[in-house]
Symmetry: C2
Subunit: 179 residues, 2 copies
């Protein structure tokens, strides 16, 4: 089964203080992809960061909630996590095994933290991965702007050594053409 | 026990066709740190990429061999691996467990591939990590020069969420002052 992972698209990460590159476009593409996934026997998993340890992103608080612009349906799965690696001490791996996931489509925030770490972790767990190159985002950093960070990580993922899993990086339109 | 990881400092990655940023300086700092580690009841582990699957970096060939400028002692441990994540299908984790490693000092090549992936993987395995900020290197990329890639990854690691393990990024001199 194909599984769409939507990582940390939460209100607390998309505030005026933490503007994300092309946030509206990323949400739109995730919604489009999620709709296709639901119609084609795939599954949509929304990952939410739970920062209880640091008293941030507490479950139930506005920060923790998914962006209201995201379309979430009853049949979707919501999973909490506490580290950059969405697999760390979470039910993600067991859920994917139950679903017999054979391809993870990865989207979300932030490119250089949870998205990157989860992609590298999934590859070491032998999952086939497609990263949507324009389906993840981050903020400007002091040393690099967000667009360059996104371009860099897209390039790195494209050049990683496959495990038993393969990794591809495609824009949404490239993915839909191939899909 | 403190364990120094020296990742992929192999001849095949340091050719005139693949120049690495400040390769000489990085080797010098690794040698200095390895010497200190051996004298203070730590352990030095050299990781070597084995690219048998792609007919590259074949064990025993010049590409696979460690740089002759690296000081390797009989008591050091050599471990082969086949993916960007040094833990993937290798004896690294079991070796670290046997050594009762409580801190990994990470150095090597390349910053954006095996070094980064191994750091993120080690953090998800609850290891305490110190990355030596001037102890790893990479090449210029089409979209970013090597120095900026190194600065970016150093910054990201510094800002990762701790697990049961903590992560620090220090230059060699900062590390020696703290050590």
């Amino acid at each position: 089964m194909k599984v769409l992972l939507v990582i940390d698209m939460q209100q607390g990460s998309f505030t005026p203080q933490t503007p994300r590159h092309d946030a509206g476009g990323v949400v739109e593409r995730i919604n489009q992809l999620a709709g296709i996934m639901r119609q084609s026997n795939g599954k949509v998993i929304f990952i939410q960061h739970n920062g209880t340890r640091d008293n941030e992103f507490l479950p139930g608080t506005p920060d923790w909630k998914l962006l209201p612009s995201l379309t979430v349906k009853e049949e979707d799965i919501l999973i909490d996590k506490t580290a950059n690696d969405c697999f760390y001490n979470s039910v993600l791996d067991s859920t994917l095994k139950q679903l017999a996931a054979d391809e993870l489509i990865v989207t979300g925030c932030a490119t250089d933290f949870c998205v990157d770490t989860t992609i590298r972790s999934a590859l070491a767990k032998d999952y086939n991965i497609t990263v949507i190159s324009n389906g993840h985002t981050t903020a400007n950093r002091d040393h690099l702007n967000a667009e360059t960070v996104i371009a860099h990580h897209n390039w790195v993922w494209q050049n990683m050594i496959p495990t038993k899993g393969k990794i591809k990086v495609l824009s949404l339109s490239e993915y839909l053409l191939q899909g």
